[in-house]
């Protein structure tokens, strides 16, 4: 699991605003610092999605390039750098899976949902080890079908129709599982998740 990289990320987390400002001033040393803080988390998430180290390396580089190119739109004072980077990484990886499988549906939707402003005001403690332990436990407590639909949606970017095909289940059943799984996660995580 990502405990060590997370602890390192939190250790450095206080300085994200300063790091973002230096990235916005196009300071090359800031890029090294950004990679040293979050490179391993970004790479780990992409590997989990594409399950190929070589492809993950290319997509991780693309992720950092996208962050470098779009960092001007990021509000340093409002935080949310790591959540934004993980969203960009996930979207790059899922776009890769979709294009490799000839599935381009929803690609625009994903691209539209990783604008840096959408991650402003996310609390810094969002990814602390206690929170993540609770999330992990909540995921483990889900039934196998419920956990599978969440993983297929998050890590493979499948639509509900594609999940139904993959699992050999009626679409209505899959939709019921997805909603029930998300409700169970919300109930289990309580105030840690506001919606």
């Amino acid at each position: 699991m990502l405990l060590l990289p997370l602890l390192l990320a939190l250790e450095f987390g206080e300085g994200d605003a300063d790091l973002v400002r230096r990235l916005q001033r196009r300071d090359p040393r800031a890029m090294a610092e950004l990679y040293d803080r979050y490179g391993r988390m970004v790479y780990a998430l992409i590997v989990r999605v594409v399950r190929d180290g070589g492809v993950a390396e290319d997509l991780a580089q693309e992720t950092f390039m996208r962050v470098w190119n779009r960092v001007q739109a990021f509000d340093a004072a409002r935080g949310g750098l790591l959540p934004w980077m993980l969203a960009v990484a996930r979207h790059r990886a899922i776009d890769y899976l979709r294009s490799a499988a000839g599935r381009m549906r929803n690609a625009v939707e994903l691209t539209a949902t990783d604008h840096p402003a959408l991650f402003a005001d996310m609390e810094r403690t969002l990814l602390d080890s206690d929170r993540l332990r609770r999330v992990r436990t909540a995921l483990e407590k889900l039934s196998e079908n419920h956990r599978t639909v969440i993983e297929l949606a998050y890590f493979e970017g499948l639509s509900q129709t594609e999940m139904a095909e993959r699992m050999g289940q009626p679409l209505g059943t899959v939709k019921t599982w997805v909603r029930a799984a998300l409700k169970n996660l919300r109930d289990d995580l309580g105030t840690a998740v506001t919606a």
Partner: protein, 254 residues
């Protein structure tokens, strides 16, 4: 749609799997900076971020760092001082690249066509397997000794009519005829209506009628037959609904 109606779709939106009409409704609420939906969707994004952070650790290769550090220097190649010899070599390499690229394109096109055929065959095979699994599950319900059978619409000459079979351990099977295909953008949704006062109808899956106006729909899993008052079908938006829109297309009281 109201914020309350959209609330259950925030997480689906953050996952990227919400469908219309909820998807466009949420976008509209976010575009006008809705004070309920903006924090709601942000909370759902937080959950998704946390799920992403549960990925198993993986150590990136050392060269990835070098590749990332090269990003700020991108585009400086134009400063290089090309000598005529190097330029000639580059031109030769370009010609060779064009030649091999054309061959590669032809091979890629053939490969693409073969992959498309394979995907189509896999899709057809998966569809047949799903239909077979569905029919097996339907037969399993019909074969249960304690299955409860309800006939609906039998007394009227108008559509639809058919039977509902309920088995406590295996689920609910609906067989209908004279059921026209749902209009564009709509879908049929089955509901299990509990006897208990104040209980809400339970959504039991979406289905479409076939071209010959028949339908077979299954809800697999345990069902409280003794506590069920009726099984009903309503016409809903294509994404389905969490509460039925009345009146029902038909109902089969137990």
């Amino acid at each position: 749609m109201s914020c309350e109606e959209l609330r259950d779709s925030y997480a689906l939106y953050a996952l990227g799997i919400v469908e219309d009409p909820e998807a466009s409704e949420i976008r509209e609420h976010l575009d006008r900076n809705c004070p309920v939906c903006v924090p709601g969707v942000r909370g759902a994004r937080e959950l998704m971020t946390q799920i992403g952070a549960t990925a198993p650790a993986a150590e990136p290769p050392a060269r990835l760092r070098r590749r990332v550090l090269a990003i700020p220097g991108g585009g400086r190649a134009a400063r290089w001082n090309w000598s005529p010899v190097w330029a000639a070599i580059a031109a030769g390499a370009l010609l060779a690249a064009f030649f091999f690229n054309a061959r590669a394109h032809r091979a890629a096109a053939q490969l693409g066509r073969a992959e498309a055929s394979l995907r189509r065959l896999q899709s057809e095979s998966a569809a047949r397997n799903r239909e077979l699994a569905r029919l097996n599950a339907a037969l399993a319900i019909l074969n249960q000794p304690g299955v409860k059978q309800v006939v609906f619409g039998g007394a009227t000459p108008q559509p639809p009519r058919g039977r509902v079979f309920l088995d406590p351990a295996h689920g609910v099977l609906l067989l209908a005829s004279n059921l026209p295909p749902a209009p564009p953008g709509k879908i049929y949704e089955m509901w299990v209506i509990p006897k208990a006062k104040g209980s809400r109808p339970l959504p039991a899956g979406l289905f479409q009628a076939a071209g010959d106006w028949t339908a077979l729909h299954l809800l697999q899993g345990p069902v409280d037959v003794a506590g069920t008052a009726a099984v009903a079908v309503t016409l809903e938006p294509a994404a389905g609904a969490q509460t039925p829109h009345l009146p029902p297309v038909f109902a089969a009281p137990l």
